[in-house]
Symmetry: C2
Subunit: 274 residues, 2 copies
């Protein structure tokens, strides 16, 4: 759609984004010609570029490109990829490389209308996330773990059309995230979300829920979460920029019927500026 | 150079190789119009495609494309990437996707002529490889760990122009591989190479050294290797398809002056058919 500011849908086969997954990305929701929470997406993009030592393109440049995308596609899903660009052969990142900026668009997925209010069914995937502190939290292009987990979920969905998300544990059995979402527990009025310092991807919407907790004086704990603890939580919900927030109504043998805290957060997030 | 059989140097921005690193690759040495050890490269490609559930392109098709590349570039480095191809938005791999075949070429790197015989200087990188048994051994496109390690090595090379390779440990301190090579120890006439069932990339040249050991009645152990053990080995050497074999002459405080076993293997590998 737009590659380095030029309309197009191809990149070089020597781009390090392809060769090594050497880049980061953002998935944003566009509504009425506006990319929701763009300033937060840009902050996260900067953070992730820094984590990989990629020189993040400037906000003015990206904002101008985003506006061109939105002018054509005012509603749906906008994806921005920033790679380290092209380089000489070999893993060593050139400090002189010019990052590649890629914009793409797709329609909003057609999810069942009741999932945000009545909740979804989730299952635990057998794939375990590897611990790599140097990359943890970063939304980079090395996503084979997500692909393997999504394949597993997809196979399970053939037998159970109700399944909407797969939850991922690390090798030690801690609950980390969903295949394409972050995760929160409600425990006696407090919010708990998994520590992502060893693995997992810290999404923008997760940050918004954390900001919500702070603004509303709700205690939020960032720590290791055992699967067992999630199964005994008062509520469980997942978030990302596209779905926003879905409560979990079924996980393994446990089911939930009411999601008052999730409903309140969802309501408030819709009205929050940032 | 050649993308899905057509001359070109671009791929779609929707190719899953870019989006998720959802693909595998081979790096081969071409000499006098021949890709060295192509049958072994193809076997490894098949194996790696299977590991990711990618339908591997047929040998006849790939061989024909390879011949077209070699006709133009008889000597140097040939790279083949096979990705899962394009798909709908999201991590779930479509079973209907047609894999993308990408061929590229680059000249042989200009390494010092004495490294194969007199050995190289190596250092241990601070980056630790994450344990992911589902992806271990596979030469896939999720290579950010190698990129981070190579950046570390490159920074060290600015102070020490003699450094040629960085060695990588896992989180538990086991020695696994080099940033772009596999690793062997010589211990009292036996060969030892790290177990790659939790992390690391099992290269084609590693397989050839294992085959050599088998053919020559030399005991080869595939097991966990402590860094300390490598520092006390009689010899240490690294291998890959491009460098073939380099002995290590310096690692930390340890140095080696003679590499009789490495020299013999190197000599024999040059003459082995497969």
């Amino acid at each position: 759609m737009l590659v380095n500011g030029v309309p197009g849908n191809t990149i070089s086969i020597r781009d390090r984004g392809l060769l090594y997954g050497d880049g980061v990305f953002r998935t944003m929701r566009a509504a009425q010609g506006k990319a929701l929470h763009w300033p937060l997406h840009f902050l996260k993009l900067q953070h992730d570029c820094t984590a990989l030592g990629i020189s993040c393109p400037g906000e003015v440049l990206l904002r101008a490109e985003l506006d061109r995308v939105l002018a054509q596609h005012p509603d749906g899903v906008v994806k921005l990829i920033v790679t380290r660009g092209e380089g000489a052969r070999g893993y060593t990142p050139s400090t002189a490389a010019t990052p590649t900026r890629i914009w793409d668009f797709s329609p909003l997925p057609d999810y069942p209308a009741e999932w945000p209010t009545q909740g979804i069914k989730a299952q635990v995937c057998s794939l375990r996330l590897a611990a790599q502190p140097r990359l943890a939290g970063v939304k980079h292009l090395n996503r084979l773990e997500n692909v393997l987990a999504a394949a597993e979920l997809s196979a399970a969905q053939r037998h159970d059309g109700q399944l909407a998300e797969g939850l991922l544990l690390d090798a030690e059995g801690h609950l980390i995230e969903g295949t394409r979402s972050n995760l929160f527990l409600v425990l006696q009025g407090k919010l708990v979300t998994p520590d992502l310092s060893r693995c997992g991807t810290a999404g923008m919407q997760r940050g918004r829920v954390m900001a919500w907790a702070s603004q509303h004086g709700v205690t939020l704990q960032l720590r290791d979460v055992a699967l067992e603890e999630a199964l005994h939580a008062d509520e469980l919900f997942i978030v990302n920029s596209i779905i926003e927030l879905w409560p979990v109504r079924e996980l393994g043998q446990r089911s939930w019927g009411h999601f008052p805290v999730a409903a309140r957060i969802r309501h408030d997030l819709d009205r929050m500026d940032a």
